[in-house]
Symmetry: C2
Subunit: 227 residues, 2 copies
């Protein structure tokens, strides 16, 4: 049985992935101009697929299209990111409390396996930020899928890209991987011990990536943020 829906790959799909990746990894810097014409030239295509790509990127707030002026990579808006963090906190703390309550065997096992993978990756040198991010995401995704909230995970992913860029900023510094892993382990413990009080508090801190360092990042990369 073939359930992988064959969807022809269009030029715009490939370009979308390329440009999105380059924005998230700060290859294109916040504020940088991305004109249709120059992108079309770069990828060797016409402006039509580029327009599609830019409009899609605008819908996830990665670029802003200023009519007849230009299209620009959005700067990081901390007020916006702050609300995305709050959104995830509200949802994921509720989900985790539910897990703490019900102690679903299969899910807890899956989460422990996920943590093992993270531990393994951490033993090596030169940790690839994107690879670690994938494992980080896998842990959080399991929280959703384990509660049969796959759609909810997908929905949140669509608005999560701004937060993703924000987290990338301190991940490239390379010293927060271990902290994230340890947070996950503690969250795991709290769920197993039904310690919802500490669970919610730690998750808040975890999603914020340690409040004190945020201020440092905002200073260090202040040209990446909106005023």
């Amino acid at each position: 049985m073939e359930n992988t829906k064959k969807r022809r790959e269009f030029i715009k799909d490939r370009i979308y992935e390329d440009v999105r990746h380059d924005i998230i990894t700060f290859h294109y810097q916040p504020g940088e101009k991305l004109s249709e014409y120059s992108l079309a030239e770069k990828f060797g295509v016409s402006r039509s697929p580029i327009r599609s790509v830019l409009q899609k990127l605008e819908s996830e707030s990665l670029v802003v299209i200023d009519p007849q002026r230009g299209t620009f990579v959005t700067k990081l808006d901390f007020d916006y990111i702050r609300d995305i963090i709050y959104l995830r906190w509200c949802v994921e703390s509720t989900l985790m409390c539910q897990i703490a309550e019900q102690q679903p065997e299969a899910l807890l096992l899956a989460l422990r396996e996920c943590l093992e993978k993270q531990k393994t990756l951490l033993t090596g040198h030169d940790i690839d930020p994107e690879e670690f991010t994938a494992l980080d995401n896998a842990f959080h995704e399991a929280i959703y899928t384990g509660n049969h909230r796959e759609n909810l995970w997908d929905v949140i992913q669509e608005v999560n890209t701004s937060y993703l860029r924000f987290r990338m900023l301190d991940l490239v510094q390379g010293n927060s991987h271990r902290q994230i892993y340890q947070d996950h382990c503690k969250l795991m413990q709290y769920m197993e011990n039904k310690d919802t009080q500490n669970l919610r508090a730690l998750l808040h801190q975890h999603l914020n990536g340690n409040l004190q360092t945020n201020e440092g990042i905002k200073r260090e990369y202040k040209e990446y943020f909106t005023a």
Copy 2:
């Protein structure tokens, strides 16, 4: 001081509002085909602005574009809607508990004013579903803005259209307006009395628009829903 940012009105903006409205109000029915060419003809424009509109509508899951086949109004996916309800429940119950805790004077006053408007509208005959929806939304929006979560409200609105269509189904029947108003009043009471237990329970029921009636709607409009 002029703070309304003058943004030139483009053809696609008007068409977007038109088509979106017609989908939400079921003028275009779920599953119906919306070809670029026929829409272009209907609005007397070329396919370019129509493509913009349809791509934007796809990003909020109101249409699905099947390449080289056609563009169709999406059917209501209850699994998806269920998760949107859960999302709103997680967020709004947290916000309301926060309000219950802090008892912010100005916000409580604003909420009471909002309820008065709803009460006034309910005294008349022939209640306009869209007008009531606006007042319903205003109550929920105040919960966000009162906690300085304007961005979060905006984010949720972007994924809320599917839920909006779902609620429209029983609103046109015209017998749930009073129930919604009464729910709001009770939620208000629970917040003032810091009764978070009942608050969370009622909000869940409120967002679901009464579980028992949902089954009836799914039967009555079953051609509007996915299998």
